[in-house]
Symmetry: D5
Subunit: 126 residues, 10 copies
């Protein structure tokens, strides 16, 4: 069962804006309709608030365990994506957050869902 309490954080190490991206290539959950497993790639991309504003970053190992907690969950693509966005936005209150999920094909159709919070920072364009 997805469990946001698994998520831990550490203080952002800088006041200068920077961007972190974690790509988890081995995500799996269960289709609530058919009971068959779904497989996908989850990308988490964010700019933490500055250190002096109390900015924090999600800790990598806790993120892994949090993503594993979806393994037996019956949940749709769109719900997975919005749930991760909401849980991480609540945890970190970052300047910017993007969750992108890329799902392996089903019946010849593959899908990508993209949910965000906050505005794209200039640093991302560089």
């Amino acid at each position: 069962m997805p469990d946001a309490k698994l998520l831990e954080a550490f203080p952002s190490p800088s006041d200068t804006p920077f961007v972190i991206e974690h790509i988890a290539e081995e995500f799996t959950s269960v289709c609530p309709k058919t009971g068959h497993p779904d497989f996908g790639v989850v990308t988490v991309r964010f700019q933490p608030r500055p250190a002096k504003a109390g900015g924090i970053c999600v800790e990598l190992k806790s993120l892994k365990l949090y993503l594993h907690s979806f393994r037996s969950e019956g949940i749709f693509y769109e719900a997975v994506t919005n749930a991760i966005r909401d849980d991480l936005a609540k945890l970190m209150q970052p300047m910017w957050l993007v969750i992108k999920t890329d799902w392996k094909g089903r019946g010849g159709i593959r899908s990508t869902i993209r949910a965000t919070s906050g505005d794209v920072p200039a640093i991302w364009m560089a």
Copy 2:
């Protein structure tokens, strides 16, 4: 025969803007001029209206059956693309919709058609 009535939808799960992309790699229809089969890839990309505004999303399996309904249809590349754009725009009245069709080569020329509805959302740039 292409049949928009095959399309079903479910309520958008979020008020926060997000974008969905489905890529159907196994599309086929028939050239109305030569009777030979055409093969292509159909990309459907959209931002649903917010949940509180009655936003809806096309259901994946119904989309697959709808695309299969072109299998025996004699229809040109441009007409396929505009028809899918029109049917999905009518169904979902989304904030943004892009239909892109990439066709395998004929006589050494391969083609791509791109039709849209609504403006590119900021979220797509992230």
Copy 3:
């Protein structure tokens, strides 16, 4: 309906052994169980008998029309592969014939079937 009578041939142009390979990347038939379309790539590889022994080669356009004749046929992967092998072996009585079908994934599993007639010629190793 698959129709071997669509196949035509022309006399082999040489007494010296040579090998021809045709790769049809846009094959489609129908799953007899689910009624859903199957998509694959069909490879036809053969060494004709020598010209002086009455060797013949399948004509390219007739091969295309023959493969199109499977478009509405409900037929399993294995049966497609063996049918093409049998029809072409009967037509050409070649020194060597390989039919390989590569099928797009279904439920996360993609398949390849390989059927042959005759022995691999030394020329193929070069």
Copy 4:
């Protein structure tokens, strides 16, 4: 000899803006200096005027024959590119037109020429 009279067109099927791209991967002409053949890829990308404004689209087969008409022509890279741009702009009077030619290397240098007419439409950014 390049012959713009080979080009045919059909009425644009929509009033909503859309973009068409044709990629001809097998273009050849002759270098006027050395007499040696040149090989390249020609990309034609355009947004037709709306149907209600009398918009038209170049017909695919006629485009192929038009491109073949350069086969024995001694003509430089830049002239090929500008000639195709001029002929298609005159035929269709499109909202936007891009001709891009990518030439195989000569003496270790490969070249790309890009000529346009009209402004890049917003739809192309999607």
Copy 5:
């Protein structure tokens, strides 16, 4: 729990030798040591006995369900590979069987295990 009783088969459709390969790209089990999930690709390749000798082929959907039955199993790479080889060899008694498992990296090391039954047939070399 891995369950060989999920496996079903159908009669081999031919007396002429042929080879079938199924590649399941979305396999997952659990590391018995750490409890963390393992992800890999399972390749099943075999030559059935001839139809007249009572040859049978594993049915594709039952193979999928059988592979899903490892999802919550704590089991090592080598044991997974040997278990699948043994279960399928027992089911089909094929002329030739290869099981290959390719595992995503752990700690910077990725692994491949390969188990077989019977001799490589000449047809595989073609």
Copy 6:
């Protein structure tokens, strides 16, 4: 018109066996049936006779001009391949010669023709 008299040669520089391969990626001829151009890649691979046995090698620039001489010729795939094999075998009387032609797709089918003369040398396996 294909013209074997364009081919020139130079003495093999060594008595020790060695193998030369030339890959001409820009070959074009004309389909004798439709009059449309065909495009392909021609590979010439050979082991010359030893220098002391009067071995000779085809000269690179003359090979280029010889291949250009097919540009306006109406000729089938198989005939191109056998003609080049015969012309080069006659010129060099090499220990081993392979001609492979890879043709761009027509109607969704692409083809490869392979013709040889002499036996594969051990050196090729290294």
Copy 7:
């Protein structure tokens, strides 16, 4: 131990704006938590101040030795990235500086960190 004193510089050779990018594909440091080695790629991209304004560029060999000085250091991804940004910004006081670190996967998750100083110059868009 990371040692900024290893860094050397030379005068920028031009008053006209230009951009330099160095990509070090063989960076390694040590995880301070587990003691296991981390491997990544470090990209350094900058626009020096104009020569007449005393602009300087980091010298390539000194950059290599500086990056090697992290080899036995226990340090987190984010700290590596910010340290390199700070050391190079202090050394060169460039118009623009980007440090990007791409880390090999750990536990199925790979990460990218991006830190900058100054605004993206127009020249970078070209």
Copy 8:
């Protein structure tokens, strides 16, 4: 010795803006410090002034010979890039000019230098 006098030009064939790109994949010079050869790829991209404004384009073969003139020159990456930019800007006085040099790795670090003259034209975005 680099020799700008090797460069020749021809009149721009059009008043309508267009962009030319030449990519020389086989550039080599010598490191002035170590005497070892450097290898790189040089990209020259420019928009000539309109024909009616006396616009000219660098001639391809003369560009090749000019680039060869660096072969025995001891010169740094940054100096090569700025020299080519200056020589071509002086020759053509183009609307826009970009020189990009991509250098093979040395000691595990590969580099790219980018120098420009003039503003990016709208046509380049298409």
Copy 9:
């Protein structure tokens, strides 16, 4: 310092021949001549003796720690390769063992070393 005592093993799980391959993509040691770090990929491939003959397999995590023990060692490519072959052959006394090391380029030259023990098993050809 390379330390074979770090290596652990577990009993081979089968009497039927099978092959295991581990690919460690993040190997680093130090050049004894220059003191600069070397980076490479180490492949370990082996067929254990049958279980009933006391066959054993190297344990994955211990292999990782063993490879890490070369991190500060000044040692040549050839010596690394032969040392790993000798240590693993001594540990497992396998039927077959291949060690392959692929080294990143130095001065424009990249290298591969391959050392073996025992004969290639038939199973490897499948």
Copy 10:
């Protein structure tokens, strides 16, 4: 001027057979006919004689300098390949030696030359 005296060697570190491969991706010489530079990749692959039989291996840095000595030499592809084979065979008297040169295209044709000494060892097949 190619200079075999630049080559140095060190004693083979093992009595057990092993194979070494060096790939020099930045080779250049001069065409004796046109004076234009040629660029290629040189692969050196060999099995040294056993240590106890006085086996030696070419030293990597000396190999680099030796290959650089062809930089200003006017010499044909075939002669380069045979010269390197002869010089290294004389130096090392190895069990097996392969020299392979892959040349960038000239006039649309790219070439590969392969010269050997001794028989392919069983170890190479593994």
